[in-house]
């Protein structure tokens, strides 16, 4: 997994690539945790994310709660979208 951050104003765009699974999810969680205060919007760009496990979903859920809904998921691939659909995450997340 690779994490790239780009901040403009109070919007933080985090581009995550690779696999977001049990092994890598804690790293992303740690990264985001430090950034939540002071953000008005968090954008997670999943264009190059290949896989997300339940541990990854847990991080998204945490981020969704911490951002009080101001979380946008961008460019998930089909497999990811399917996961979001199956788990019902598609209902609560803003996915673009």
């Amino acid at each position: 997994m690779n994490i790239e951050k780009k901040q403009s104003g109070t919007t933080l765009t985090v581009t995550v690539s690779g696999r977001l699974d049990t092994m890598t999810a804690p790293a992303l969680e740690q990264e985001l945790k430090n950034d939540f205060p002071g953000l008005s919007q968090l954008v997670l760009d999943f264009q190059n994310l290949e896989y997300i496990s339940s541990a990854g979903l847990r991080v998204l859920l945490g981020a969704h709660k911490a951002m009080k809904g101001n979380l946008v998921i961008k460019h998930p691939n089909e497999a990811l979208m399917e996961v979001f659909d199956i788990t019902g995450f598609a209902d609560i997340l803003t996915i673009e």
Binding site: G62, K65, D91
Partner: protein, 805 residues
Amino acid sequence: MGTILLRMLGAMLLPVLLCVLFYQAEKNKRYAALPFMVKQVIIGIAFGIAASLATEFGVPVKGATLNVRDAAPLAAGLVFGWPSGLIAGLIGGIERWFAVLWGAGEYTRLACTLGTILSGIIGASVRQFMLDNKKASWFYGLAVGITVEVLHMLLVFLTHVDELHKAFEVVMVCALPMVAANSISTMLCILAVVALSKRREPNNHEVRKIAQSFQRWLLVCVMLAFLITSAFTSFLQSRLADSTVNDTLRLNLEDVKEEIRTASDKHLLELTRQIAGELEGGSQLALTALADKYNVSEINLVNAEGIITASTYSGFVGYNMADGIQSRAFLPLLAGSVQVVQRYQPTSSDSSISRKYAGVPLSEGGFVQVGYDAQSFQRDISEQVVTAAKNRHIGQEGCIIICDESGTIVSDRDGHEGEQISVLGYASTENVEEFVTFRSPIYGVSSYCMFTQTEGYYIIAVLSVSEAQFSRNVAVYIQAFMETIVFATLFAQVYFLIKKLVVENIQKVNDSLAQITGGNLNVTVNVRSNEEFASLSDDINTTVDTLKHYIDEAAARIDRELEFARKIQHAALPSVFPPYPMRKDFSIYASMDTAKEVGGDFYDFYMLGEEKLAFLIADVSGKGIPAAMFMMTSKTLIKGLAETGLEVNDIFTQANAKLCQGNDAEMFVTAWMGILDLKTGLLQYANAGHNPPAIRGADGGYTFLKSRPNLVLAGMDGVRYRKNELQLHPGDQLFLYTDGVTESQNPRQELWGDDRLLMSLNENPGLPVEALCKKVKADVDAFAGEADQFDDITMLSVRLNSLPE
């Protein structure tokens, strides 16, 4: 002088310019892409040309040529790499050899050629062997520059051992400016590159290595030792030189003094004997006439009692020789001495008159005493005096000057006889004592002088300061040169020793430690080259062993606890099949194969009254004890809610609300739950983010039962779950599973997937519940092969066999 400085400065800055140029060239993609050796050759040639240019633009000073040739090869080696240093050194050296053909100095041809080649070799070696092929620091440039130039100077000596004097004169002129120019130029080269690299990599806060700190301190110590010993040597040699000058001047003065006195004594005795001969021969001449004839000032005849009986001065007659200190010295003539001669001194009778006296006994008793004044004897012995001064050399250029009491030169090196001593530039000696060295210009050269007086003469010994200090300077220079080389060698030796004994061993220990911290606790540290490291190795190994023991123990304990947790988890799931042997209208089977780690999967089923069968499958996110505990909570909660008779969607809605409370660990559960009305065949189900089950009609194949799922349980408070309905007919069969099934991996890390699951189900769609689950499990196992499974594999299958009529 200005142009000289300018040319030196130009030659000094040329290598700096090249360094900047080649360093910046790395930014050019085409240049940077060239192979290492090609770049090295290019750099070597460029710096070789710079060295050659330095030769051609050398500055001639006092017969020697100052140049900054050695800096270029040195900088190439230190900054860019050993091949470029060697190449530049060879080019510069060989060009210097042939440069003699078009005007370069012949005298230092060999020394300069070797010196330049050596500078390339040294630059290359220092980088390769001492700096681990990394760029040098500026103080290295300075130190190596000094060392190389000192070697160069020593080479001048070595190539001219038979004429050290001249060689030294060349070195005296060249040494300081060349050592300074070359070392500073090398230093500037490195500083320039360091400045550029800092700009390129601005955040370069790396912690200094042991070797580097050590090098710094060693260098400081060596420099300090060098300065102290040099100052000490210089001081000692100066004192030694002073004392040598004193001794040389004094010995020469005493020699000349003795020579003049002997000549004068001999001459006066000769005269006295002749006069005695005339008197004994019965000469009729009066004493005054006799004195005139022999050109002496005074003749006294003394009887056996020591009383003057006759004299050229009538006033002396009757004087008792025993009455004066000076005259008393002649009395031994009455007791048998054959001759007495005195030095030029004031007389006993009149201390304002200085005379030299000699006496010889007369055969009839008594003696004759002859007195002589300065003018007379100086005239008579002038030839000996002149020769005494002319024949004497002090050192190479030093000499003796003799003048009379009035300061008129009697004899000197360059033929100034008759002139006043002051024309030579000689300072007054009024305040100076005899035999004390003082400085005065003589013949226009600052010189050490010492004087003495004898027989009415001033004898001055002269030695030029430069000559007097020459040997001292030779000693000091050679000492300084030798110390530079000795300390440089010492520095290198100690550095290598430390590197061998400490740094390399630390590296070895670190390598082993890196493997250990990387997880391989079976690696042992084994550095036994000295006692300290052997003991360190043993300590580390013991620590690791102890650690390993604890880890094994802890792992065993955790394993036991996990095993226990797994047992509890399994015990909570219905595991007796068939569970309702009396019911023939439906059949149900479920299985859970836990992965090595305790997971959060579970299934459950129970009768709600006589007519409804509830069944669910769920997967808690995460693994381990927390997941297992969350699973137990969820399972109990759902069952409790189900037993109150709630509809399936309300069960989920309420379970979700309860699970969300105090869910600090942010865990969640995906779950699929169905409640089948066994009377009507109506299946009501809800899906909280779980994989869709597969369903088979009485005679068809399996397809996924897609329904729009709601969010996982415990994901977010306030979610309202939807209820879906499906009418089942006898023979319809459902297959529920967790993602452990579809996400099983084979050794190539491929997932089993939905398609393979459907294929597996449809190979024999008519299989009853238990056989179906076992078949899927067998297919998954066959697919996974040797690959480890990280997730629980949980399945549940329900078949509606019949409906009441």
